[in-house]
Amino acid sequence: MTAPHSFVEIRHAQKSYGTLEVLKDISLNVERGQIVAIIGPSGSGKSTLLRAINDLDPLTGGEIWLDGVQVNKALPHRQYEKHINQMRQEIGMVFQHFNLFPHLTVRENVTMAPKLLKKISDKEADKLAEEQLDHVGMLERIDYYPAQLSGGQKQRVAIARALAMKPKLMLFDEATSALDPELVEEVNLVMKKLAQEHMTMIIVTHEMDFAASVCDRVLFMDQGVVVEEGPPEQVFRNPTQERTRNFLRKHLEGAK
């Protein structure tokens, strides 16, 4: 194991379910403050790769490093649980279906983890919730329940919930795919704001325009491998691979 050079390093990530190999030797480096988009057809392994970064879907081979610490360290079960819970506090994740806690208010959704894991007082927790919700423009809904919010509002709360743990890295798993078209923009705006604040982000998305406008780098994945990788203008305007061209063409037709 050599020490990593990049903020996030994925080394030879490999994942199989039985004989089905969904990730085939994928390596990826992300520098601090960089934003990387992962695009590709469904079943390409892009969500699996994202979910491997915080070990929701453990890899069957390879290493994940964050800020000099290996996320998927080989440790005895109990120690590993402790280690991974610690690591996950530093990796925020936003899901396609929000996964807000429906039995808790917006405020409680945001403060539950910090109160439980960082032992902050109720007063500090309230202040934290107000800050984070203000940041995503959801302060007025602080005492609502998730069921009383629109999809876009739910997703903004979910982002605030992740940010309340002050993560070093944010993962977005198709954060806008489940939203009605008119609600996508409000979530994109929040993500752009995070980009301006130099949050390191890895974004799995179907939205090429958004990827092109905020990302430093785009990865095109297909059948478990990275087919093409580069700055958005290159991947979107001058893709070198036939598979990338096919995917982008189909996607553009679908969008029309």
Partner: protein, 218 residues
């Protein structure tokens, strides 16, 4: 010999005490069956085999044998191995565990039905599995089964009459004592029935309050 309800008033005190004991034993057993049900559900779904199997056997025992027999075993049987429980405690344990097993079945089903994304979101924030269960999965599962658990609690109230056989002076036994002195079976059993019904109404009101409290989050 006709019916004569004027025999009741001298025994109002006895019956009131009976109501009190019935409410007390039902409340204590309900609390035990509720938390016991959660614990049994978590064990059934998440504990390692070595713990799960003996508990499954115990659950099977409580479900597959008559409650009356269980009460006899706990109160009269355990004395022989040196565990001498007061009748009230024996009654609460018997009723509580018996209904805990039924509640656990309901809670297990509801826990399985809680969206997998809930556990994932909690774990992603850094919560341990135990923390995620306590804070996220169990509260949602319990809220989803309040109405059927309420039905179990009403059954529990009615089955609390069984503890009269181990000598807890609850409503049924109080009625029987009054009958022993007056030989007026119809009047006192009818009075007891009315009182059970009134307690039942009170319990339904409490359950409705719980259900309403949880309406907001849907």
């Amino acid at each position: 010999m006709g019916l004569d309800f004027s025999v009741l008033p001298p025994f109002y005190g006895t019956l009131a005490l009976g109501v009190l004991w019935t409410v007390a034993i039902t409340a204590a057993s309900a609390v035990l069956s509720f938390f016991g049900g959660i614990l049994l559900a978590v064990i059934a779904l998440y504990a390692p085999m070595a713990i799960r199997l003996p508990f499954r056997f115990l659950a099977w025992l409580f479900m597959g044998t008559p409650l009356l027999l269980q009460l006899f075993l706990i109160y009269f049987g355990l004395v022989q191995i040196g565990i001498d429980l007061p009748a009230f405690v024996a009654g609460v344990i018997g009723l509580g565990f018996h209904f805990a097993v039924y509640n656990s079945e309901l809670i297990q089903t509801a826990m399985i039905a809680v969206d997998k994304g809930q556990m994932e979101a909690a774990r992603t924030l850094g919560l341990s599995r135990r923390q995620a269960l306590i804070k996220v999965v169990v509260p949602q599962a319990v809220r989803d089964v309040i109405p059927p658990i309420g039905n179990n609690m009403i059954a529990l109230l009615k089955d609390s009459a069984l503890v009269s056989v181990i000598g807890v002076s609850e409503l049924t036994l109080s009625a029987q004592r009054a009958i022993g002195q007056t030989y007026r079976a119809f009047e006192f059993y009818a009075a007891a029935a009315v009182l059970y019904y009134i307690i039942n109404l009170g319990m339904e009101a409490v359950l409705r309050w719980f259900e309403n409290r949880n309406r907001l989050y849907r």
